[in-house]
Subunit: 232 residues, 2 copies
DNA sequence: CGTACCTTTGATGTGAATCAAGAGTAGTGG
DNA sequence: CCACTACTCTTGATTCACATCAAAGGTACG
């Protein structure tokens, strides 16, 4: 399924964070990072664990979530290939505020604290990229807070679908788009702060209005324009 | 009320971000930053404006919030002296995701993009501090998401009160504490994602249970331990 | 001392959760 | 290939936490 031979330098050098690093810097990274395989359902770290570096997804899918006393959990983020996580926590002496679990069998790279700190010391451009990465995360989190705070459940679902449109520039994109949900509906429901039941009902209603068609994980947006106007 | 003569180098050098900067670096900053006075109710920037740097609160109080179509708004953060905001947005070509407004007459310092980028270029320690600052913000935002997602309104209020206890180490702090709310109850309600009515009722209920006493902005926590156990 | 805003209190409404079954759908092993 | 099991997803009935609406104090400030 996946190539057994991993070209780690290539993987690393294609990450936004490391894109303009010199070959010798990439080489240093390569020796410093460790592969970590994670089976579906396996826990990478628990909320409260002490972080020692950050992770990059090579392939697979990871969810970050809060556990909750009542057994249910709240998914914060769903990560795919080439995304990284756990950077922020390196710069503070604090435990992970979320736990990480494989949604499918996955391969990660782990890059230790000290490696990052050394790079930071030497390369101002790397620092800039790191700052840019954190800023991006901050923004998407702020956006999440906005969404949870002042949009209804249906609006959150519509927003999610529109975000996952192949292209969403405000040109004349009136046609229909196909979306394939990246994971199960219950995980997506949690990501959107909904129960699975509510998500199901919203998909039902949107289908009834002819705005979308749902078939398993395949969702067709029949009319992007009308869907976008759904925001009351 | 406030000293007219501002010792800007001293203000700057006491900020966490700039704490270990050399005197000449502080001096450079001083010439590069601009004072900005903001009256109560005055808008510093709107959501959607283009950022040109970041701000430090010298004195006063600023709120960051999302506007909403129905006139109500959602307060994201309430900032006081020595706190800064708008750093994240410098590292991305994106407009402000929130607006900023003075809750009282305030004085801010504005530090431009280029100044920061130059510092970043020269001083790895500064980069570290900047990263630490952003990480902290990221964490508190993650904590907010957790709070909004899986805690009831009363739990959010209790959490807020406990966070604002003078000392909250899990030692034998059973006594009572006095808290002075930093601003009006409606702003705090919005910060906690509540309506003012709901916040008022929760204060009422907690008072009825003898857990707290409310008198205007003065709140006495009668029994920290019992309040902490309030989490169902 | 009056006007404007903040806060409280009560009555009512509602969006989404919860509870409870049933209907797909997918892996597992004989 | 088909039964067996275990989820995931849907659908309906009901509940509940919190918002909304409405109106009456309080409080601050010009």
């Amino acid at each position: 399924m996946h190539e057994n031979r991993l070209d780690i330098p290539q993987i690393l050098s294609r990450l936004p964070l490391f894109q303009e690093l010199a070959p010798d810097q990439i080489a240093a990274l390569e020796t410093a990072c460790r592969e970590r395989r994670l089976a579906k359902g396996e826990m990478l770290f628990q909320k409260g664990d002490a972080p020692k570096g950050f992770f990059v997804v090579v392939f697979g899918q990871i969810k970050l979530a809060f556990p909750s006393s009542q057994g249910n959990e709240k998914v914060v983020q769903i990560l795919g290939p080439r995304q990284c996580f756990g950077e922020a926590v390196m710069f503070m002496d604090r435990p992970y505020p979320v736990f990480a679990e494989g949604l499918v069998d996955s391969l990660l790279l782990h890059i230790g604290n000290t490696t990052v700190f050394e790079l930071l010391e030497r390369d101002p451009l790397f620092a800039r990229r790191m700052l840019a990465g954190l800023s991006l995360r901050l923004h998407s989190l702020v956006h999440d807070v906005e969404t949870y705070s002042l949009r209804s459940s249906a609006q959150r679902v519509v927003g999610y679908l529109l975000q996952h449109c192949p292209q969403q520039d405000d040109g004349p994109c009136e046609g229909s788009f196909d979306i394939s949900l990246p994971t199960s509906k219950q995980v997506i429901a949690s990501r959107l702060n909904l129960t699975p039941e509510t998500l199901s009902r919203i998909f039902h209603d949107l289908s009834a209005d002819g705005l979308i068609s749902v078939s398993g994980k395949q969702i067709t947006i029949n009319n992007v324009k009308r869907l976008r106007e759904f925001d009351l």
